[in-house]
Amino acid sequence: MPRVSEHHVQLVVFAVLFLLVSALGFVAARWRRPETLDHLDEWGLGGRNFGSWITWFLLGGDLYTAYTFVAVPALLYGAGAMGFFAVPYTIIVYPMVFLVLVRLWSVSHVHGFVTPADFVRARFGSPTLALCVALAGLVATMPYIALQLVGIEAVLKAMGVTGHLPIVVAFLILALYTYNSGLRAPALIAFVKDTLIYLVIIVAVIVIPAKVGGWDAIFGSADKVLSTVNPATGAPRGGILLNANNQLQYVTLALGSALALFLYPHSITSVLAAKNRNTIKRNMAALPAYSFLLGLIALLGYMAIAGGVKPIGKDGNTIVPALFDHMFPAWMAGVAFAAIGIGALVPAAIMSIAAANLFTRNIYKEYLRTDATPQQEARVSKLASLVVKVGAVACILFLDPQFSIDLQLIGGVIILQTLPAVALGLYTRWFHRGALVAGLVAGLAAGLAMLYRIPNPATGHAHFGGSAFKLSQVGLDTGVTMYVGFLALLVNLVVAVLLTVGLRAGGVADGTDATREPDYVADAGDPRVHELPEVKASV
């Protein structure tokens, strides 16, 4: 086990950088200063006025989280090629949403929507469907925030720091400046976070291969170690290539994850903060720079195998911090740890803002206080963001971290079920609101049922052991596996289509659509796109 006494330099560098970005977080309230932060468009969307560069850093910081940076290499370390799905996933997602997100941006700016559920509410005239979408967003986001803490914890462990106090303090600071500055805080901190991450990874891919004998040696020893049969499971851990049974899992996991990414409320928050359509389109072209980075980060898992680095204790997520600690001089390891630690703060802040906005707009304003003023909305959202973070810390303190990991896995399956209402809803009003609710519920039920039946022999879990569903479980004579979320989405779509036909044939009343086609192509400068602060809810 690492000891604090051997990590003074790392700790000092880590602490200094951490305090520096905390100060930035508070200063952010004055950055691009608005007349008032007492409006959800200001606190929760940074004034809806971020240009291409800020959006690039913000979305990069938002989508490529600290957890990604520790979990993806851990996956390659543990299972090989399968973990590399993160690369095709983050390649295909941008061309997929290139046209979709600009429609969402336009309709949201014309109508003043803050959350995806706001859009669904207006499009399908159904508060119930909007509530389902909001709840799905909340349930999917909460464990994701908790997982960012897992990222910080992995770094602290590598420095020999144990106990929960440091994490509580870190999150307290985060909670305070998010409360104070809103979305401006993560936007400003993202500049530091991403610069540090790029720096660390460039150094890593130069230094580490040189130390372990080059890329040939890295892939060679990874291949040898991964294909050794594990006595516990009677099968090899994996391989550096896919096999006949996990190729479909690789494809469906990449596709399903890509479909889910921009349904997450925190992704949509960052998109809606952009100032115009071209900002979003340019970002869809430029964000894959982070995918390149992610690919290199993923390979850190193989470098750890080649370097003979072992994770700390049984926590596979510590493999990257352990590798840095092993390979880098003390001060550089400190910078690397800070990069991961700060990398946790940016998405955690955006996620808590997104969750708070969902609560405020789609539960508080919809059900508790229908006449809430913008000031009241902003106040409730700020308080809700605190509650969300306390909840995330409590998850880590009182529950097994594995529970958060399981929940996040479930969260991906859940958020994917909002696709028909949110993403298809941007293109068609064909679906009946009742059918969309039923489809969402059916998809959820099917997804949970499948996840429940997946064991994990490596960790001894009987249920929720992963997202790879064996098709043999539904009677097919094959060893092929598929991503649960993808299968659940198919169930969802079938139910939604069949019920739409049924409900229409039965003449069941449908909601009215508050949006019009031109709303979906409006851009900044268009008279119907309100200038702040006149933006108001039309729902």
Binding site: A81, I92, P95, D216, L242, P288, G295, V521, A522
Partner: protein, 74 residues
Amino acid sequence: MSAPEAERPTPPTDRSPWNWLLVVPIVVPLLTFVYNRHDPTLFGFPFFYWAQFAFIVLGVSTTVLVYQLTKRRG
């Protein structure tokens, strides 16, 4: 940054045949049977890995191309 262009008529649609180009970088990275192989290697990287890094370049260039070809005349 740019001055508001109040006179600009709203184009009625985002439609363009160029948009179909976006299908290429969505489909290609999902064809595992094409790139799930060890050889040829490049700088010590098996084909499986360097091909997927190359797909990033494919994705970026296609998206940039479509963006430029479909940009609204301002």
